[in-house]
Subunit: 399 residues, 2 copies
């Protein structure tokens, strides 16, 4: 049956829908084109003006160099996602993201992910958001657990070859994971590859955290001594009482991500003093710093090998050159006499009873590395023994 | 002329457009319904589980109380936007946002805003994003400059009446502005109203920042002494050399926002130690703390009035009650003996030559309050004189 008004109504409906769709799309489209060269020009439309101003301010000599670096972020949760966002906004060259979790509404108490992303993989959701924020950054994402054998090998391969120029290693690996096994896997990989990395962590009660720089052979690795935490002075009994879910706060995670990426920028762009260990106690606004030498009896044989390499290099290098390298900083004379809270020597480490070194006030070990006998349920950790990586990874896979 | 296929083509087009629009909208829709009661239930779909876990961990006694509080955030830039996002994700009851800027691509080196929001007002863009993140929070946004006379009066009115229960004052005002005039306007308003507030700031060279708690009559207000900054040891000459745009970093701003909101949570939810002043020097990872008593000769007559009120209240209150109020903290005995770096007494303030108090190492004044004679170009600041607020605001309007 003929309906004379039908055609007109359909035409009107098409116009309406087209307009609405255009409005929706306008709202989402990446609103800027790629930018070939970073400019310091001060215009509202230049996303790099405030970063390039760091040169004029005398903070960074060559900010553009940021575009040549590749950073791998392992764990894209409360700390890792904000870390990736900060690096993206700073205009890093390339980011590799590793995670195997999905976004859940239960993550909405931390920054970055949004409710409409619930159900997506964290790396996929992160890549989508980050590309919109800065299309100049290259992304490579891996939706897997790095601790299984196949994935661990692939992870090692990407760390070794995944830089902007394929075949070259990444400049830095950042650990933003939330468990011991994943940290140990990163530690094992970086010791074997001699890869410099930074570790980060937030306590289960959400009120303390830390970052740590690990240069294989030069500073203590994750297996040299038990991981350190900034104590929040909370009774451990209350902490594990019901043991169902850890607390977390966007504040603590934001501060830890900020301290981490600040340390990354200082390390890559050569300004300020790079921290070896920086803790954050939110209850008392206390930020301890320290550094730790590697343990000559470290259970990770690759760590011991890296220590030997480092000693040889140091011995071969003329003393002045070493100092010059350390001091190549735009500003800084440490006029205030700020000191590291503590420096633990090899002797102290040797003298310490068991694996627990003496620590500055306010810092304590997260847990001691479990004895092998106690270990029957959870399995051995990668750094626990003298076995080859392959044997260990095979064991881990069977857990 | 009849076109027999036209109707079908239009029908197909409508279906296609409807599908595409649905897809677009699915991607953006607020993916969760409102939640009436905060629950500690550990499920993937509970956005409050990790926050409510703070109770089980023994950190916060009554986390749900967060929903009863209203916070005003003045300035929704690099620090203010992240501050608002953290409070939103923590489930604050109501947020009032004040800003008169537009989002620009030049802001993309800081967290929160996205390129597709360029051109929107900051408060409008922020409200849209924050509502999607947590529809349980109430928002009230004001797209104006608080320093003009009419707006200042409206601002005072909303601070006094804009709580969840209309007619009651907000619980806290947060200053996240980037200029002296706006800070002085907030200071003037809070001194007049006896409103507790927190101030935040980031240096022009992007590598230092601070937060400060101001309780009118009890701690130094912004007019009692020149604003303090954490020195970055950078030559002032290089800082202002070309003077075209300040540098900024997402890291420094993220850390400052995190410290600020952590202090807000500790203050509102009564845990840990609330900091009166916490600085951040990113070059050396140095975090000075201190507290300052108000200046009995403060140029703001409302500050002096609040000081008298405070003294009277203190004198009337039995000594023990005062201590109890301070110590009502879930944990904390300050077992590590952490001390404030410095406490500046009234006498020291009086004795200090001019308006510059003696300061702990690493902290210096941002600038001295300009002499009136030097002031002919920029005009007087609100706190500079004995004139009435109305007179001063009228002058400011004419600048």
């Amino acid at each position: 049956m003929a309906d004379p008004g039908r055609l007109e109504r359909l035409e009107r409906r098409v116009r309406e829908l087209e307009e609405e769709l255009a409005r929706e799309k306008r709202g989402r489209a990446a609103a800027r084109a790629r930018i070939d060269t970073m400019s310091a020009e001060v215009t509202d439309s230049n996303p790099y003006s405030r970063l390039m101003a760091l040169k004029r301010m005398g903070i960074v000599k060559d900010y553009e160099k940021i575009r040549t670096f590749t950073v791998a972020v392992v764990g894209v949760g409360g700390v890792g996602s904000v870390t990736a966002e900060m690096l993206t906004r700073c205009g890093i060259g390339k980011l590799l993201l590793f995670d195997y979790d999905k976004v859940e509404l239960a993550n909405m108490n931390r920054l970055f992910f949004q409710p409409h992303q619930a159900g997506l993989s964290k790396v996929q959701a992160a890549e989508h958001t980050l590309r919109d924020i800065n299309p100049d950054v290259q992304f490579e994402v891996h939706n897997y657990n790095i601790t299984t054998l196949d994935n661990f090998e692939h992870f090692m391969d990407r760390i070794s070859n995944g830089a902007l120029e394929e075949g070259k290693p990444v400049d830095l690996v950042l650990s933003c994971v939330d468990n011991f096994e994943a940290r140990m896997a990163i530690n094992t990989a970086c010791n074997e590859l001699g890869q410099i990395w930074m570790e980060s962590g937030v306590s289960e009660n959400a009120v303390s955290g830390h970052i740590q720089l690990i240069i294989p052979g030069e500073s203590a690795c994750f297996a040299c001594a038990p991981p350190l935490v900034v104590a929040a002075n909370i009774d451990e009994k209350t902490l594990k009482r019901e043991g169902v879910c850890a607390a977390s706060l966007p504040t603590t995670m934001g501060v830890v991500a900020g301290m981490l990426v600040q340390n990354v920028l200082k390390y890559l762009l050569n300004f300020g003093t790079v921290s070896y260990y920086l803790g954050y106690n939110a209850m008392q606004d206390f930020f301890p710093t320290m550094s730790m030498k590697p343990n000559p009896q470290c259970s990770d044989h690759n760590c011991r090998k890296q220590q030997e390499n480092y000693k040889r290099k140091e011995a071969a290098r003329p003393k002045e050159e070493v100092i010059e390298k350390e001091e190549e900083i735009v500003h800084e004379d440490n006029d205030w006499g700020i000191e590291l809270v503590s420096e633990i020597s090899e002797d102290e480490l040797k003298a310490a009873s068991g694996p627990v070194p003496e620590l500055p006030e306010g810092i304590s070990v997260a847990y001691t590395i479990p004895d092998k006998e106690e270990n029957s349920v959870t399995g051995e950790t990668v750094a626990d023994s003298e076995e080859s990586l392959e044997e260990l990874m095979a064991k881990m896979r069977n857990m």
